[in-house]
């Protein structure tokens, strides 16, 4: 890992992404439904250095995939900014969760990669050799060039997804649940592939995953997201060993760990509230075992964890 300078490769500033849904005529007049605003990402500041992997964890519906998509520019932000390589525009490549849905079934591998290489401005005569080089980099061969996605297994498809992302020579890749659709034995192959790429090329990753074991293994730093907001961030070791936010603590204690006997677990009651109408004050107050009056009244401000630079928590308990 190299962190050559202090300017992050990717940075988000007050990033928000809302989804507005307008019910149809009948739903409005008969069922009395109103316009709804889903606050999927609601004010996120984070940064990723060169050669670094930031793990983004959280339960389904917390906005982590939306955040990833806004950062690479698949969704425009509602407010705030993405800074990539110092410029105020999104960038980077993406590896998707579902290798069955993210590759066009009617295109051969040659076409899938060729399209990206064309975008990058690689001349026609060089595209084949460059495609082969990419395939070999992800553990496939030139023989796979004229095959269709259906002819590959899930793990091989995900390798093609990685090759496609690499075709643009990105310095930053958002990997959105890159292994959760794969079998355990194949998961490890893909994780090792991503790690190897980082060592070789110094590419940075935003690794979005609900699997905390995968995030722990891959990430230098971790950010925990809950209902559109980051609640805690820090170096992987310190966050896993010394979680400061009650949500992080509950999340970590809920992980089933191989071989470890059940420790005293913190059990969260209920489920995640809707992002359409998030609770006032701290987003986590409806499920928090340490809820105080102040938690309902105002949003927590970021607080540094003592003796641990870079470990920041958004919680009134720590203020």
């Amino acid at each position: 890992m190299s962190m050559r300078d202090n300017v992050p490769l990717v940075q988000t500033v007050g990033l928000r992404r809302y989804f507005f849904s307008k019910p149809g005529f009948l739903a409005r007049t008969l069922a009395g439904q109103r316009e709804r605003t889903t606050k999927a990402v609601d004010g996120v500041d984070l940064f990723i250095h060169e050669g670094e992997t930031l793990g983004l964890v959280g339960e389904s519906g917390c906005g982590k995939s939306t955040l990833g998509r806004v950062i690479v520019g698949l969704y425009p932000p509602t407010a705030g900014q993405v800074l990539y390589e110092g410029r105020a525009e999104p960038g980077g490549q993406m590896i998707f969760q579902n290798p069955y849905a993210s590759l066009n079934p009617r295109h051969t591998v040659r076409q899938i990669l060729g399209f990206c290489l064309e975008k990058r401005g690689v001349p026609l005569e060089d595209r084949e050799s460059e495609s082969v080089r990419l395939l070999e980099r992800v553990g496939l061969t030139a023989l796979h060039l004229d095959q269709y996605p259906r002819q590959f297994s899930g793990g091989q498809r995900q390798r093609i997804g990685v090759a496609r992302a690499l075709a643009m020579r990105p310095r930053f890749i958002v990997a959105d649940e890159p292994v959760s659709a794969l079998d355990v034995s194949v998961q490890a192959q893909i994780l090792n592939l991503l790690e190897g790429l980082q060592e070789e090329t110094g590419v940075s990753f935003l690794l979005i995953s609900h699997d905390l074991a995968v995030v722990h293994h891959m990430s230098h730093r971790v950010a925990v997201m809950y209902l559109g907001k980051i609640v805690e961030t820090g170096r992987t070791e310190s966050l896993f060993e010394n979680p400061a936010h009650p949500y992080t603590q509950a999340l970590l204690s809920a992980i089933p760990r191989l071989g470890k006997t059940k420790s005293a677990r913190i059990r969260l009651q209920g489920t995640v509230p809707s992002a359409v109408d998030p609770p006032p004050g701290c987003r986590f107050q409806t499920r928090c075992p340490h809820k105080m009056d102040v938690c309902v009244e105002m949003e927590p401000r970021p607080v540094g964890v003592k003796g641990d630079p870079g470990h920041v928590v958004w919680c009134h308990l720590r203020a």
């Binding site: 339960e59 079998d183 071989g259 489920t271």
Partner: protein, 335 residues
């Protein structure tokens, strides 16, 4: 509750085959398995290893073109494969109940929760008073159960839907619950809640549970005994502590090496290659092409399950293999 001696489920030589255009796919190739009263058995393996097909065969629910082509299955002493459709219907739900992976697609979206719960009781000729339904929902930890009875499934979260499924499964007091990846579709905090609930049911009522999961960590937390399946066969079986601390089969060893272990700097060691293709005729050990410890003899000859004193293992090389001091072994040692 400790496991009794009565076998609630006993499977012998089960063979399941799917007839496809390209010939038969032998999804389950001779599985012997038993679950005793009060026991939680985990059936673990990767997708396509036959773990779900084994459970579905017990319930007589194999989807077309799947068929049981050999072996026998006894539930509470009854030979399931010889039962008529009517007898099978009365067995399902009352003696043995099933909880599926995706509660959203197993609950009927067009009927209210109350109606779906009543149906299960009515089919088995049991009374279905409002009080009873409320109590069943309370038992699985659903808040304001009276209101929930009038809800449609989409008004509940995934975790709550799964609780309703468990309430329905419990409504006729089954002796055995078959759970097919019951928490895979759920978030980790909700998964922990559902596993706690199932564990509590097992402890308080002595209900036996057969859990199918691809997640070794879940199995290690939840099960008393586990059976590891690969390519339609059991390759290793034993108490959960022994199998995970000292895996005997190279496949089990490989699986454990694939899982990130919350220890920095421990590299993952993937199993090379792909899961075996069951439409091909497998002569020798199905794991042979991927095995790190293979010998020429493994390619052509299939090993029976060896009993090594409570531990079962299907490997020619057993006795020659050593499982190094691994992270897994150390984890168990720490306790």
């Amino acid at each position: 509750m400790a496991a009794g001696n009565n076998e609630v489920l006993s499977i012998q030589g089960l063979e399941v085959s799917y007839q496809t255009d390209r010939g038969p796919v032998r999804a389950v190739r001779g599985v012997d398995l038993s679950v005793r009263e009060g026991e939680i058995l985990g059936l673990v393996g990767e997708s396509g290893c036959g773990k779900s097909a084994t459970l579905l065969a017990v319930m007589g629910l194999l989807p077309f073109p799947g068929k049981v082509v050999g072996g026998n299955v006894r539930v509470n002493g009854l030979d399931v494969l010889k039962l008529s459709k009517k007898e099978l219907r009365s067995l399902r739900g009352s003696t043995v109940a099933m909880v599926f992976q995706d509660p959203m697609s197993t609950l009927n979206p067009a009927h209210k929760i109350g109606a779906q719960m009543r149906e299960a009781l009515r089919v088995h000729g049991l009374p279905c008073t409002q009080d009873l339904l409320v109590r069943l929902l309370q038992e699985v930890g659903i808040p304001s159960p009276e209101a929930v009875l009038g809800y449609y499934p989409h008004q509940l979260s995934g975790g709550m839907q799964q609780r309703v499924m468990i309430a329905i499964a419990l409504s006729c007091r089954p002796k055995l619950i078959l759970a097919d990846e019951p928490t895979t579709a759920l978030d980790v905090t909700i998964e922990a809640q559902i596993l706690d609930l199932l564990r509590q049911i097992n402890r308080e009522r002595g209900t036996a549970i057969a859990l199918v999961t691809h997640n070794l960590a879940v199995a290690s937390q939840f099960c008393h005994r586990i059976a590891v399946m690969y390519a339609g066969q059991i390759v290793e079986e034993g108490s959960v502590e022994e199998v995970l601390a000292n895996p005997l089969h190279p496949y089990t060893q490989g699986l454990i090496g694939c899982i990130p272990r919350f220890q920095k700097g421990v590299p993952l060691t993937p199993i090379p290659g792909q899961v075996a293709d069951l439409s091909e005729n497998l002569e020798g050990c199905a794991f042979y092409p991927r095995c790190a410890k293979r010998e020429p003899v493994c390619e052509k000859t299939l090993q029976d399950l060896l009993d090594t004193g409570g531990r079962l293992v299907r490997c020619q090389r057993y006795g020659y293999l050593e499982y190094a001091e691994t992270a897994a072994a150390q984890d168990w040692g720490n306790e």
